[in-house]
Amino acid sequence: MLETFNFRVILEYMPFFLSCFLATLWLSGAGLLGAFGTGLLACGMRIGRFKLLSRIAYVYIESIRSTPLLVQLFFFYFGLPSLGLRMSEASTGILALTLNSGAYMAEIIRAGIQSIPNGQIEAAVSSGLNYFQRMRCVILPQAIGVTLPPMLGQAIVLVKDSALLSLISLPELTRAGQIMTSERFMPAEGFLTSAVFYLVIYYFLKLMTHWSQRRLIYLQT
């Protein structure tokens, strides 16, 4: 394998890999944004006052957390058309990533909100702030500081999870490796190149995690 490892073919495929790299970035970026919104919403419902909404959010979070992303992806990919909803592969993929990571995001945000001392909330209530003002000015700014490192961890998971979208034939990094394997029969060159690209994203996000943790300690002292 190593004696025939062909860098020239990798170079030849490099533009393709780069466009697929951008596709992975784009897909996981969109998924991350959606997951953040879904997470905020689900978390708000979960800890809110209304029993019914809280139940719904609980069922959503737990059912997402106890089933694999691949099954969820196939559920949407094969299931939505039978309901008469035709979506492109990209939007199906982003939908699955969003709903999947949204459940984990909700738990992360909930842990962050619960880490805020009760006195802060009581002080905000006695200052006459209503629910949204309390959230906006007191709870969220502190909670986001605490939740940033685990959120970046979730971002790492999300980028890795986006590899599964190759199974519904979306052109992203893993798919690029597959295509190279089937066109040239070079699995070593193809999959190792995709792995290197994933590692680039991983180390970038890991650096950001370290950075945010350092800042967090600075804020706490």
Binding site: P68, V71, F75, L164, A188, Y198
Partner: protein, 224 residues
Amino acid sequence: MWSFYIEQLIVSLPFFFKGLGMTIAVSGLSLAAGTVLGFVWGIARAKHVRLLKPLLGAWVDIVRGTPFLVQVFIIFFLLPEVGIQLEAFPAAVIALSNLSACFICEIVVAGISAVPSGQREAATSSGLNWFQQLRYVILPQSMRVILPPLVGQYVLLIKDSSVVSAIGVVDVTRVGWLTVQRIPQGLLVFGLVAVLYFVICYPLIQLSNSLEKRMSVSYTRGKE
């Protein structure tokens, strides 16, 4: 129309249970192998062996930084090129064991470093050798930190085992994928698959949560 599909699905239920058996076999084997390997790596990393520690660290980083699907493909398509011909099943078990070992390794390192260093010093001055220290002092105490995330890791392992359906292991996800070609009702078919995973994973998640609660209670009590 729906009742027809449901009937069809009931007829093919045995296949789903067979697939579930395969999922349990793959994840059970990898769970055992991954746990043993993860503990060995974790202990080796915590022991500051000079060359081993950075090597293991780099390996864990690489495995944690790449998608599991890519790892499965690399093991399945690359090992034959260096002369190791593997069926899909052993390839899947190797990939899953390696993945879980890397995550469990991190958990074990965190658990061992959570034991106060006074314990180790006391054990040394009591004349315990390295293995006795590990066996009687360090590991029993670190278990409290290790156990809850370990169970959570098992849940992740079972969920990740769905990915090996991509190389043709006929697990429950693969059965769903095969069935949906015949019964074009994705919601029904993958709803059933999801329910089967849910039945296994949900109790484990609850167990992890309750372990976490119990362990942290005993910790705060012990501190007082």
